[in-house]
């Protein structure tokens, strides 16, 4: 039995790195600082260790040979998921470049709402340590934060000490849209979060009115989507008098048409608060299943975020056309590689009967067995690696916790890529 402390998690997105785990052979127990997201993700048992081809157990070499054959025969391969560590993503990009594939991160449809807003007008954002030490007003738009990240409040808002606040319990929390599902947002001195509840579909209107009020534009209505404009005015006033207001949202939760415009309105209202003479920052939530990692690596290697293709020998980016689900629907892909090293329940979408290779976390079960399944190690458990936190600045150094013998994503994808060279 080995105890390992200060274990960083690639699962929660917020970079918790204070976990203590016990490793007994290949079984892992989180003994300190676990949570509803991290504990099951670390403790999940290894079930299968052998690759399969056509449902039959084979050697890794043989599985790679089959994958190479599938790629060689394809006109338009696509690589989806992209849920892995930095080295896994590096290998994925090398393979995509060589094979002329589409690269599409599984969370891109959500992340795209942020990326489109950023690429159109930019934003002013902050990171976790600034929130922990400075934030005196925290506004959550359209997201159940504690379900997304159970330890967010404990680690970054109700921390005992901060450098620039007299008492962190005095921070004010306000929800617009979805109400919180629990009481994590209630401050240590029992102050409950203020909630301006509305339906997700009403957020565009509500956020637009809040922005107008911050700018001082006249608003003639008394109500918007059932909320009193006076209540929104109060939030506008608070933002303009806070020392360091932070507005957070989760692009993935804003699941309505043209939600990128709502993200943009949020980002622009943050700029408006700064223009009014006080500081304020945005804070997009994400960072799960390696999505920031995928965008970062794809970004530095190609200049574009992770929905792009190499089909014409050059990197091309299109946040709409290279959505692999849509490509499947249109019959535009003829080979499919799914990479998901973190989450065994994130199974590949149905590729529409095209040859499919899955690099998945051990324990993945399929309605329809793929042509090739290769169980890979999980970064931060089975091998060391790097993963990006949701705030996109900090790459955490993941530790190896056990000897499972499972290959890394990078090893498998590099072997497939090398197979294409020969």
């Amino acid at each position: 039995m080995t105890e390992i402390t200060e274990v960083p998690s690639p699962f929660c997105g917020i970079g918790s790195d204070d976990l203590t785990i016990q490793a007994d052979g290949v079984s892992i127990k989180v003994t300190k600082n676990g949570c509803a997201v991290n504990t099951p993700a670390f403790e999940q048992a290894i079930t299968d260790t052998s690759p399969r081809v056509d449902g039959k157990e084979v050697s890794l070499e043989w599985a790679v040979v089959r994958a190479v054959k599938i790629l060689k025969a394809a006109n338009q391969p696509v690589i989806g998921g992209c849920a892995t560590d930095v080295n896994g993503m590096r290998a994925l990009m090398a393979l995509a470049d060589r094979s002329g594939s589409v690269v599409d991160n599984m969370n891109f449809t959500g992340a795209k709402r942020n990326i489109l807003a950023m690429q159109d007008s930019g934003w002013m954002n902050t990171t976790l340590a600034e929130i922990k030490n400075r934030c005196d007003l925290f506004i959550v738009v359209g997201c159940d934060l504690e379900a997304f990240s159970p330890r967010f409040y404990e680690r970054y808002l109700w921390n005992k000490e901060s450098m620039f606040l007299d008492d962190t319990a005095d921070r004010e929390v306000i929800y617009i849209g979805k109400p919180p599902s629990g009481s994590a947002s209630t401050s240590p001195n029992k102050a409950k979060a203020k909630v301006l509840e509305c339906a997700d579909a009403d957020l565009p209107e509500v956020v637009a009115v809040l922005k107008a009020l911050i700018k001082g534009n006249p608003v003639f209505a008394d109500q918007v989507a059932g909320l009193a404009v006076a209540d929104l005015q109060e939030i506008a006033d608070k933002l303009k008098s806070a020392n360091y207001g932070v507005v957070t949202w989760a692009a993935g939760a804003l699941d309505f048409p043209q939600a990128e415009l709502t993200v943009q309105t949020i980002c622009e209202l943050v700029k408006d608060v700064n223009a009014s003479g006080v500081r304020c920052s945005g804070f997009p939530l994400g960072g799960k299943e390696g999505d920031q990692t995928a965008n970062q690596v794809c970004g530095w290697q190609t200049g574009y975020p992770a929905r792009m293709r190499f089909s014409s020998d050059i990197p091309e980016y299109d946040p709409f056309l290279y959505d692999i689900n849509q490509m499947f629907d249109n019959g535009e892909a003829d080979a499919f590689i799914w990479v998901q090293a973190f989450n065994s329940s994130a199974v590949p979408p149905q590729g529409g009967k095209i040859p499919t290779v899955v690099l998945g976390r051990s324990g993945m079960t399929f309605e329809e067995e793929p042509d090739v399944f290769i169980p890979v190690g999980t970064p931060g458990i089975d091998h060391a690696g790097h993963a990006y936190r949701l705030d996109n600045v900090v790459a955490i150094r993941l530790k190896k916790l056990r000897d499972s013998g499972l290959p890394s994503t990078a090893e498998v994808l590099t072997a497939i890529e090398q197979g294409l060279v020969i």
């Binding site: 200060e6 950023m118 290697q301 900090v394």
Partner: protein, 554 residues
């Protein structure tokens, strides 16, 4: 294997060789003396061609989070410059902020063999090294940014002694795997988080009551006492503000003779004269540099066209966001450590301010006399992409070309610059000094930027051409660590350079305070913060080269 380069005309300022015909022998990656009785395995006849060491860019934003935000922000700018993959090259994109692979290839194809990322935020250092880990062809290294991080400012506010500051600086340098120390708008990035929208050299950060002048002095002292060869690398206060030449002159005086490198000094050399209240401080700056031998500068020349500015200085970037073109920009406060700001810029020759910026940069190049203390940069991508260096070299070496260009810029700017009356033309040896020998010396690189016996065989061979832009944009050959990697201006082999670092000693007890600070205030355990050597090398391509430091008490 013994390689011989026969008959080249060698410019090697490090060894005082100035345009002399000289054969060069290469063995095991290094330059060797002419061996007796051994025939070379491979000979290159380069008779009459110009030979220099591989060029070194000591200030170029090639790796790190803000650069990657700049990339993501500008898809339209990549679309105009796609780069297809070949059998030996990965696909990528140019233009203002190219992808990592393309960055490495394009630098090598201009004869460069090393480049230094000048703004490595300690908390983002992993990313900087991972990005540079995907830059082929070049040696690299990073200057670690301090001066607006709260741990340091708390030390300053608590009047910690210089030894404690030195220990913290050395600890951070080691943790972030850096080769030098950088300060950006000293204390100003922190001040912006407290809503101070500007910060003069003698103005207090309102929370810490510490001034930029005090920060410069303290960090320059630490660098000197720790024996870090590269002087404190300073992006000064008041970047881009008309009248900031006074701030710059005061900063020079403020370090009281300690070694200091002022970076992209063009952006810090503005006066307030004339109808537009914007004038050149180029001559004053150059005079100060000529007089103060402790000083070195790189220029940060601007070139006309589209680029994107990427800076740790979010206070000044925020102040300039209204100039963004296209109109989109990003500012970030980062981890009680630093910040960043990305503002796209389109410098236009018919815009008075941009035109004068262009002229000011050239004035500085031509008026600073000592080529060992001035360096050729565009502050890539902030003044222009690094691919404009050959054009810049032509402007420096060719007076009539320069004057032709001058005649095309905004007429009021022409009246406000002395550029037309400056007759200096850079010599080949001076160019070799700026871009090779001097750059290696000031960054403390041992065995680089020089062509003497025992030096690494990073070598560039050019065909002499009156048109210096044509000459310098397409070398005949580039050798990296003795291997031919570029031929006729095209990469023919992909290689991976080393990462240069320095590791001055420090008192380990500094970690006691740091551990408490990390646990209380930061979002990461101290033990997870430092970058291990494994991380730098486990991809099988990276390596570390540690350069010596010799500290001295002052």
């Amino acid at each position: 294997m013994l390689t011989k380069l026969t008959g080249g005309i060698v410019y090697d300022p490090a060894n005082k060789v100035n345009g002399k015909k000289k054969d060069i022998y290469i063995k095991d990656g290094k330059i060797v003396a002419k061996p007796r009785n051994v025939e070379p395995d491979k000979e290159y006849n380069i008779a009459g061609k110009v030979v220099m060491a591989g060029a070194i860019d000591l200030h170029t934003h090639i790796g790190g989070g803000k650069g990657n935000i700049a990339r993501m922000l500008m898809p339209e700018n990549h679309r105009i410059d796609p780069v297809a993959h070949t059998d030996i090259k990965r696909a990528g994109t140019g233009h203002a902020m190219p992808s990592t692979f393309t960055t490495g290839y394009r630098y090598a194809e201009m004869g460069y063999t090393a480049a230094f990322e000048p703004a490595v935020l300690p908390i983002n250092a992993r990313q900087a090294h991972m990005e540079m880990g995907d830059v082929p062809m070049l040696d690299k290294g990073g200057y670690v940014m301090l001066g607006s991080d709260d741990f340091y400012l708390r030390m300053m506010a608590a009047n910690k002694d210089q030894q404690a500051i030195n220990d913290y600086v050395a600890w951070t340098l080691r943790a972030a795997q850096g080769v030098g120390i950088k300060v950006v708008n000293p204390g100003g990035i922190s001040a912006f988080k407290f809503n101070q929208r500007q910060l003069d050299l003698d103005e207090n950060n309102k929370h810490y009551n510490v001034t930029p002048r005090e920060i410069l002095k303290s960090l320059a002292t630490a660098v000197k006492e720790l024996g870090i060869k590269h002087p404190l690398h300073v992006h000064g206060s008041n970047l881009g503000v008309p009248g900031n030449i006074q701030t710059t002159l005061d900063s020079i005086a403020g370090v009281e003779g300690l070694p200091m490198h002022l970076t992209h000094v063009q952006f810090h050399s503005y006066g307030t004269e004339g109808d537009f209240k914007f004038s050149s401080g180029g001559a004053e700056l150059a005079e100060a540099i000529n007089k103060n031998k402790n000083m070195s500068v790189d220029v940060g020349q601007i070139m006309f066209g589209q680029t994107v500015t990427a800076s740790g200085d979010n206070q000044r970037q925020y102040a300039n966001h209204a100039f963004s073109n296209p109109n989109k920009w990003v500012c970030m406060d980062i981890e009680c450590d630093a910040g960043c700001g990305l503002v796209p810029f389109k410098y236009r020759d018919k815009n008075f301010v941009n035109a004068l910026q262009w002229a000011i940069g050239l004035e500085i190049f031509l008026l600073v006399k000592d080529p060992w203390r001035i360096f050729l940069t565009t502050d890539h991508p902030n003044g222009a992409p690094f691919t404009s260096y050959p054009h810049l070299i032509r402007l420096l070496m060719d007076k009539s070309f320069r004057n032709d260009m001058l005649a095309t810029i905004h007429p009021e700017a022409q009246k406000m610059t002395t550029l037309g009356s400056i007759t200096r033309e850079y010599t080949m040896q001076e160019i070799a000094t700026l871009t090779r020998a001097g750059a290696a010396k000031i960054t403390g690189l041992v065995g680089r930027g020089a062509l003497g016996k025992g030096d690494w065989a990073d070598i560039t061979v050019y065909t002499e051409n009156e048109n210096r832009e044509k000459m310098f944009e397409k070398p005949d050959y580039v050798f990296k660590d003795g291997e031919m990697v570029v031929k006729d201006g095209e990469v023919v082999k992909t290689v991976w350079g080393t990462t240069h670092v320095v590791r001055p000693d420090y008192d380990k007890s500094v970690e006691k305070d740091l551990k408490k600070y990390f646990d209380k205030y930061l979002t990461m355990k101290m033990g997870n913060f430092a970058i291990s050597d494994d991380e730098m090398t486990e991809d099988g391509r990276g390596s570390l080269t540690v350069h010596p430091t010799v500290g001295e008490k002052i």
